[in-house]
Amino acid sequence: MTSVRELAEKIESDRQLTEDLSAPIAGIKDELEGLAAQARALGIERVAGVLEQAKGSLEEAESSRVVLQGGLEKARWQVMSAVHGNIGPGAKGSGPGGSFIAADGKITTADGSPVNPHLDAVPPHLRQDPSPTGDELSGVDPSISPFQKEHENAEADRGMSKARRLGRGMVRSAGDIADYSKQTSSSTTFDLDDDYDPWGPSVQTTVEVPTGQPPVFFNRPEADDIRAGDVFSTTIVVAAFAVEALSRIGRKKDNG
């Protein structure tokens, strides 16, 4: 039981770390906002654009952080409920007078001292179904990690709705002149028809096999490709480990 408590403490410290990240993220976001405004004031639109995007990435990172923090809170709660066996929807109360406990005093805690039959400090497997699967510890579909599940729901159809909303930025309003549209569209037909060639030089012999993978022509610097999400990778690994360790403990306990 000691190791489970250690796990709970570890999860709690990870949760604290995750929570502590909130302030620096908010700080950097403000800073980026300020810098973007300055760049825009100076007329350096490209720089401002990059800074705005970095800000967007940070906002996504913050939302991942909130999800992660929630997941860790949940994980700790599950560990603690496994330790105490007295919280959570699946836990049975021991009832008046400790009715689920053998009255002969054979049940002891890890250090060998007798268990007070009036407390709930009895491992769940002694009080409940004698062959639990361990799934009750995770509380979710075991094939999907809790983070993945919550995250995916939060992201549902975001790209499409964004494109529809932000696409309005391209709209020419009633006062705008668009007298080029026919001319431009007509000349573009040649690009679309004669010059469109997605698969490369046409296959002349039967030996050549088109790969379907166009070569990358543009070797651009990746400096503007800021991924604030990387900040979390370490913590996420720890969290994934915690979940895995938890289910192992669950199984071990069942087998033993």
């Binding site: 995007q53 964004k162 002149i177 668009a178 007298d179 080029y180 573009t188 469109y196 060639d197 490709d225």
Partner: protein, 147 residues
Amino acid sequence: MADYPLFRKIVKTLALGEGAKGRELIAEMRNEDQREYANYVSAMFAETAGHILDKDHSLAAIKKLVDEMAYAYRKVDPPFKPMAMEVLFRVLFYEGQTLDEVSPQDQLRFQLMAIRMIVDKHPEVFAQLDTFLAEAESLALEWESEA
């Protein structure tokens, strides 16, 4: 009321790469409809690009798509502008992205080029092209009503 049925026909032929037919239809367009036509193309661009980048619209995914276009359109003259294309995609997914750097003519040209490639390379878009064209009309009308 602009002639949206004609817009749909034009964009459909262009998306399918039927240049000669497209030029005939474009010639039928009333001059005063050109602004709404350009907006309709933007709406179709938002629908198709929004569809294929729905799940992943990271900068990496956008760059990959732009590189694909740069390859498919490597023969065009005047040349394809990857940076301008990237800006057009970014506008759809990132707040605060400005279009100032891309001329209105380039916007229209590269949007049409993107639509054509997406329809060609994505069978599910090709199969439902008429649905996409109709959705684009709803979106364009929505934009017009709010403009």
